[in-house]
Assembly symmetry: C2
Homo-oligomer: 428 residues x 2
């Protein structure tokens, strides 16, 4: 079976109308997807992948992928699977494009969409959900697909093999057990910055009734308003439930130290993105100023080299990996392995377009192949789930393990045709 | 006087034919420019700016600039000058585009081209070379144009004012002295990886005869070949001249430690980019393994937040700022200030397209407004100088201070028309 074409579409949903996704820095998000379809000579088999953006710039990611197509067109799927890491380097270390990256920004987000589609294709080829395809690989086979470039001063392939082999000893061999794993989630649904007090209260109450126990709230307006909002949420959810806050990088290091001092009385599980997520040393300064308080970051950490430093420098307490910013599992797995080695819980970023669908696989892979921690949690936001053929399912505030083959991000044809930014009826 | 339009052209020179720019990771560079022209309602006044890329991806930078145009069209130049930092934040913290950056990669390179054109326009409006326009500004006025976001834990505006005021006390007030300043340069002309032994010897000899005393060589093939090339160059230039090597990030941290051990006997002024320039902690590990050896990096350091950490963490010994990767003087000046505070010499990256033309201004600004160090040096490579109306001038291995108004990167119309990637006769 052979790859015959790669199709890219610029899909944008007009979520800014409803203030979905609003935070201290992103005030008008139109949740978007750089949507990739890999066609094969078998009409019943195609790979689908995406990267998530918030509107403008989605076109740039789409255009980048034109440069990657030739690396896979005309390849047999067996051969693609065997040479996956080689192709990953051809794309991410492209001799001309790396100047405008490398391994970050537009071209790296595009690489994520492209390799997400490839992993989807390969797991469908084996008729398995992505998580199951990965769990079934021999440790050596899996590691041949992932990149250790620039990180072997912190984790070696030998260490990685050991981590996986130890976990494999205790992996449930009954598929029913794996498929019925329930993975705990938290919600930001009540906490967007654009919401009024009343809307926040109403939504927090609704989610509490549905069985949710972990709530995240955006902060980063003036600090008095942030305190007021923490008060509101704590009053609704009580002290027995968990609260997290997220300031989306709006503060300097100094601001972060001051503002966390004001908010920590609300018993916050973690402060997310207090300052720039390029600032490994800055995060550590904030932690040192507030012993006992915990920091989370990752949705904007550009690549495994920056993750490496955040982890080894004790600059974060929770790794919030993003399935569309890191260049697919080839790069995500090394971050999961480093998180395991340093015993850092992984709490994937989700929401947006397709992120919940992706991370439900990553959670299972991390739980059964890598992590030795007992704390598991994942973000959930039901934005745009109506557009997916098989959206992530939640029961009582927990993710239900997906069972269909592939990596779960196929968008309905109706939605694609309506919201294609170039040809869709909505935008025309 | 008012801005009426912004024109962007994708200019690519076919330098890969001659192996110019070849290094361990960039094997087929077509030196390119995202070329921006700001038109005003005065036919005699326009601003020209560019960012440098190496071929593919230049189109992505061009396309990004479409999103910035509206921030300046219809503005008066006085008003543009007054609101420069506000506009800089509108572009670099754009509420949707920041997701595909922020402050790095394609969109940040595009911001550099855009603001380079604006600084060119403003200094031409005052009929001064860019360096002179900046030197003439009051310290407070200058600092109102530069960004301190995310760096005030390492340098404050008050500290910056002090640095500039102290330097202003000893600035020569005779323009002739400033204009006749000669700024020492080094050359990489003999050291590209694609060159044969014979070509290297010949070029090194030629440049020695022309008065050059500082030579840089690319390394990063197999280490035996690197040693062989160091031998050749040292034999030609002798021990009295200065040698530097550049491995363009090809090594891991471990490789770097091993390979520097092999090469340091050649008395190397600095090892440039041994490993990924995202790796602040990695650079420090390499330095700690080789006390006394010096590291240089910067042409790929994405923004001032990463520079901040490299500097405060003692991870580099020379700041190689890039005039087209940092988003113009608004971001370069903060890096010069931090380098001054920590007494790190600044050795700008040059070569490519237009970089020599840009850094000749930055060198003068740094020498007379910021640096208290006595060591001054700047890269020079005469690639593509034939296409510029007023290319940087070198005498006896030193830069000659530019005297014409503006920021010096106007490309000849003939060259633009021939090498425009969309419409030029060369590519069609």
């Amino acid at each position: 079976m052979k790859i015959i074409d790669v199709i890219v579409r610029d899909i944008r949903f007009p979520t800014s109308k409803d203030n979905i996704g609003t935070d201290s820095l992103h005030i008008d998000c139109d949740y978007s997807a750089t949507y990739v379809t890999i066609l094969t000579d078998d009409n019943n088999l195609s790979g689908v992948g995406l990267t998530f953006t918030i509107g403008k710039g989605n076109d740039l990611c789409c255009k980048s992928i034109d440069y990657f197509k030739d690396f896979i067109i005309n390849r047999e799927i067996d051969e693609l699977e065997k040479n996956l890491l080689f192709i990953w380097y051809q794309v991410t270390d492209h001799s001309q494009l790396r100047w405008v990256g490398p391994n970050k920004g537009v071209v790296h987000l595009a690489a994520a969409a492209f390799f997400n589609a490839i992993w989807d294709l390969i797991s469908k080829y084996y008729n398995k959900p992505l998580w199951k395809y990965v769990l079934d690989l021999q440790p050596e086979e899996l590691l041949k697909k992932v990149s250790f470039s620039y990180i072997n001063d912190v984790i070696t392939e030998d260490e990685a093999i050991e981590i996986i082999k130890e976990k494999k000893k205790i992996i449930p061999n009954n598929l029913d057990v794996l498929e019925s794993t329930i993975f705990p989630a938290y919600t930001t649904a009540a906490g967007w910055l654009g919401y009024s007090d009343e809307k926040m209260k109403k939504l927090a109450n609704e989610y509490l009734q549905k069985g949710w126990t972990h709530f995240k709230m955006k902060v980063g307006q003036d600090i008095e308003r942030d305190i007021h909002r923490c008060d509101i949420i704590r009053n609704v959810i009580g002290n027995e439930n968990i609260l997290m806050v997220d300031s989306n990088q709006i503060w300097s290091v100094k601001d972060s130290i001051e503002n966390i001092n004001e908010l920590k009385k609300y018993n916050i599980l973690f402060f997310e993105e207090p300052t720039s997520t390029d600032d490994i040393l800055g995060f550590r300064k904030i932690k040192d100023a507030h012993p006992g308080e915990k920091l989370a970051t990752g949705e904007m950490i550009q690549n495994k080299i920056l993750f490496k430093q955040f982890i080894e420098n004790n600059s974060l307490d929770f790794s919030q990996i993003d399935s569309c910013r890191l260049a697919s599992l080839n790069e995500i797995i090394p971050v999961l392995l480093m998180s395991s080695k340093f015993d850092i819980p992984v709490i994937p970023h989700a929401g947006g377009v397709g992120l919940c669908e992706y991370v439900q696989h990553i959670n299972i892979i991390n739980k059964f192949l890598f992590s030795n921690n007992t704390f598991f949690l994942c973000e959930y936001a039901d934005s745009c789930s109506e557009h997916f053929e098989n959206p992530a399912q939640i029961i009582n505030g927990s993710y239900v393990t997906p069972t269909k083959p592939g990596y779960s991000v196929k968008i309905k044809d109706n939605s694609l045709n309506k919201f294609d930014y170039n040809t869709g009826v909505y935008w025309n």
